[in-house]
Symmetry: D2
Subunit: 345 residues, 4 copies
């Protein structure tokens, strides 16, 4: 029975649309409020081609509109900087919050400023926020009032990295080299020339250098979850596809111990992590539309290892992991409303 | 509770894979058997990148393997010609069948031969087979033992056409011109040069002329459902995208009566049909991943009307409608396990 | 030897970029001036990723900057409405002009107003402008001072249509139905949400209804070149690909005479028209990067004929035909600097 | 004037088709013979959608057919292993040869065997073959009888690497990490399931591990051209696009000296190498359809440098560089018949 009304702020972006889809197919959550910026006042169906029925007929509220009293949970899919105020207000109003922006992913103001080049309006909430990399944060999620949903790139990188860092098999004396590839939906729905179809189609490029914001997040939580002072050299690329993210980790270390066994012990029972047989590497086609993270390992030599990790950037990298976290916040089965099999092809 | 074991024959094609995804997320059906042709003996996970867990570990049976006793329902996603024998055997074994091939879509041997250039091995089943265009066949589906799942193009064309033909507003004195566009998944998963990525990408072409097989199906069921002797000029095209089908109907007739009202009366309460406001036309992005058919109308003049109809060829055009039909065959809510909102973008 | 300096106004759009590419590889034309709107003052290389060397280092002039004295020919690749003034000034300054906008494609102010919903600032130039559908305008092009380069859709439609209309084999008692499909580059380089990669990718939709501007152009020049009062029902669609345009003409008429023979007689010696064998239909892959128009015919019945016509919308549909016309204006071989073979794949 | 007749063996693959296009637009070369494997006996126009006119009407000869007497130059675009015999025969018949296969890229039988797992039928030609990385082999190309055209990945990697290795700024004490991304045309035109449109579209994956054949080629020629014993960790990926190759070099070394200056000194006058301003990185859109290699540098720290290099895999990575080499072999201007500006978009 549908019994938990939720609000989505930032409902007309790609992540917001994905939250709507997941929640409407979820057995316990129900969309009760849709907030939007410039589109406020329109019907959801005018702005979102994929919705129909009741949702299409809902009016989009302003981003700062008062939330309905019965709403218990708020998803904020707003730009960083803009999200913090909405998160603060929702908490004040007694709601639980899953924030999909970057605003509460860091534990210190100094790191936030370094990564986002701005002061944070509510640093007092840093301590309370739970960094929701679900597989490593279940204990805290059950009682969390505010969950900082991880970034897409950090999710794809930290999931394979944490158990291996804990096991001490990776050489961290020099930076870890991570070469990531993302579909275009990760860049958002802003009307910018460089996001036009003809600019991205049939093309690939690196961006975000010399240091992408997610590098700070990876380093902070490699330390946070694995206790390992790790430096990353992170180079993201944008590809001509809508969804999907693939991170190639070029690692050095001791491969005499089986890295796959280490991951198997950590994740063997996880519903949303698939470990491929040794030497087999995943594609993003395998996880598109699913909440899974697929991980494969190839040994190049005794000391050189390549790990490839794939997620759907809008699911395990954003809205899917947000629902996974929300399930735990409300005492539900973690897998409720989330697909394990991909929409393929 | 999962309590209806099902088999899928032809599990490793694109339609078979989509059936697996839908059934595994379905509250009542459960995959109990996977049949495949040349891939028999392999694990499903070796051939289908999108599956994980229990399904990935299932061994693919030969297409003609004996079905498990407990299986109650069989989906045949086999090539036309090959399907009929499997359908016959499954019925003999006491199973219900939804056949996604073309083998039972026609009522006479003569039409089948004209469309498929072959003799049919089991014409004795023609009479029993229910043509499962769900919205127009509910009465028969509840008690059906064998459902012939409609073709993708006919589904996209017949849904808008039937109510308008019944209302008598379309001029059928000359052929109805239908120009359809389909994603590449409709062409199947055979290793053919002309289906290679580089042959289809960045290109569009017409195919299947002078007369595509689905033209016979459209004409037979325009007559069957609307009682209208209709001739179609049907020209399909293949586009550089995985999923999605758009049919443009170039119609003539009397537009003084509102065609949208006629469709509204026929489909206003349908969960999987979305009628767009007058003058607004749908895109396939709006229905990808959903079981919906979206329909829009544009009046060009008093006698000239364009109707555009969109479906996901693997869902409402194949596996989705098959589940919709199966739900009714087993007395379940027709919408169980089927998405109304699209996976967008 | 490079001896004809040319200017391009609107150099930073997709058509402008294509003109640069063609002119720089042309044996007689040379880029001497690049005009741009909002990008004026920047280097061409900052705005156009595909250029290098001398061109990349050129500074973009304002659209209304005075043209260098030595420039003999101006290509205006500006929005309709904006182009007319630049055309007028260039003619005043003694230059020849090929205008790629729609501003001089119509012969009467009334039709221009109907199609473009605006008054024209220089209707006095209508009479002088030569409509540059090259294969049918050679006599006039040699002495033309102002050439109106045809629209992409009209080019793809008129080339197959004109000889058949002249031959009287097409039934024009009712509207001719034309269903066209275009790559996204035809929509231009404006920063609009509905042109974003994720909005167009994996999707198709119709647009421009109830009557696209190019319908007027088709009707005017079907009459102009073939003397036939023809009405068109024209429905364009946008596809997920950069380049390429395919028009499907759903025609009725008398097919006892060979339509292919009629086209063969008209175009058998044309360097940029390829007629496919009866029953074979072209794809846009076959003409991408080439200035060709490929035409195929399929007979559906004695009275029903489908013709498919393909061009690269940026070449034969814009910049390529502009160069073809410019070659004739300057007494050069019509094929100079233009590819007959496609960039495939 | 066209005066050098050439033959293309392997004319119906993607590289062969690109050679046809380039040669037909070339002022001095002319296609006199087209060889093909399984397609022999057909017309070129039946197999290659992009050609027209004289070329479309040419009959495809068997791969081992006797070459016309007047042919002076042979391009072999055959699979490795198959090429060597054709190369041998052509040389015996007194022709010059540009071999686009891998058969003559290595100097020792041992390395060839390691990389290609096969014995070589004509190792006696190893010494004579000139490895045609044009910018570094001009002296030898002028008098070469046999040119081994470099692999696509090695071209994209060696061009930025060689001057930097010579300058000694790169740390080669551990392996150089190279993460490459290629369009699908690099995988060839074989009818394989894993190259189907729906398998590659909307997906990315790594392949060729633990050691792709091109790793040997990179190492051999880093040593050959720069005298540097370099080890590479090379991980290629396949992307959903037809053309284009991007290599991301994750380098360590001394960045106090300007790496861009080093490349500027080496390549400042090269017609087909474009160096981007410091901190600006290229996209494959910028080089598609052009023979250019675009190179950009981003400094991550005092010791960490990312270099991104882009080529069109069918041009500078195959047919374009082959023509560049052939120009030099025949004393022509190196740039004849080759585009510097991209086909964009």
């Amino acid at each position: 029975m549908k019994n938990i009304p939720v609000a989505i702020l930032g409902a007309t972006g790609y992540t917001g649309a994905e939250l709507i889809r997941l929640i409407e197919a979820h057995p316990h959550f129900e969309v009760a409020h849709l907030g939007a910026h410039s589109q406020a006042g329109k019907l959801a169906g005018e702005v979102l081609p994929g919705v129909s029925g009741r949702i299409a007929a809902m009016t989009l509220a302003a981003a700062d509109a008062t939330l309905p009293l019965n709403v218990e949970l708020v998803f904020t899919a707003l730009p960083h900087g803009a999200a913090a105020g909405s998160v603060f207000s929702a908490l004040e109003a007694g709601k639980k919050v899953v924030d999909l922006s970057a605003d509460f992913r860091h534990k210190t103001h100094a790191v936030y400023r370094a990564a986002y080049q701005a002061d944070h309006p509510h640093p007092e909430l840093f301590d309370e926020a739970v960094y929701g990399l679900t597989e490593h944060a279940r204990d805290q999620l059950a009682s969390a009032r505010l969950v900082a949903n991880p970034g897409c790139y950090p999710t794809s990188v930290l999931l394979p990295l944490i158990p291996l860092l804990k096991a001490g098999v990776i050489d961290t004396s020099s930076s870890i080299i991570i070469d990531s590839k993302s579909g275009a939906s990760g860049a958002g729905r802003s009307a910018k020339t460089d996001l036009l179809y003809c600019e991205l189609n049939e093309s690939v490029k690196a961006y975000g250098l010399p240091r992408h914001r997610h590098a700070w997040e990876m380093e902070e939580w490699a330390l946070g979850f694995a206790g390992s002072e790790t430096k990353v050299r992170f180079v993201p690329h944008i590809l001509p596809m809508n969804r999907g993210m693939l991170s190639t980790l070029h690692l050095s270390g001791n491969s005499s111990e089986s890295w796959l066994d280490i991951l198997q012990q950590a994740y063997g029972d996880e519903p949303f992590i698939k470990l491929l047989p040794q030497g087999t590497l995943p594609s993003t086609a395998g996880i598109s539309g699913s909440n899974r993270c697929d991980i494969g390992i190839s040994l190049l030599s005794e000391t050189e290892v390549v790990i490839v990790s794939c997620i759907d950037n809008l699911l395990k990298g954003a809205a899917g992991q947000a629902i996974q976290n929300a399930n735990l916040m409300f005492g539900l089965d973690e897998t409720e409303g989330l697909a394990t099999h991909a929409l393929w092809p």
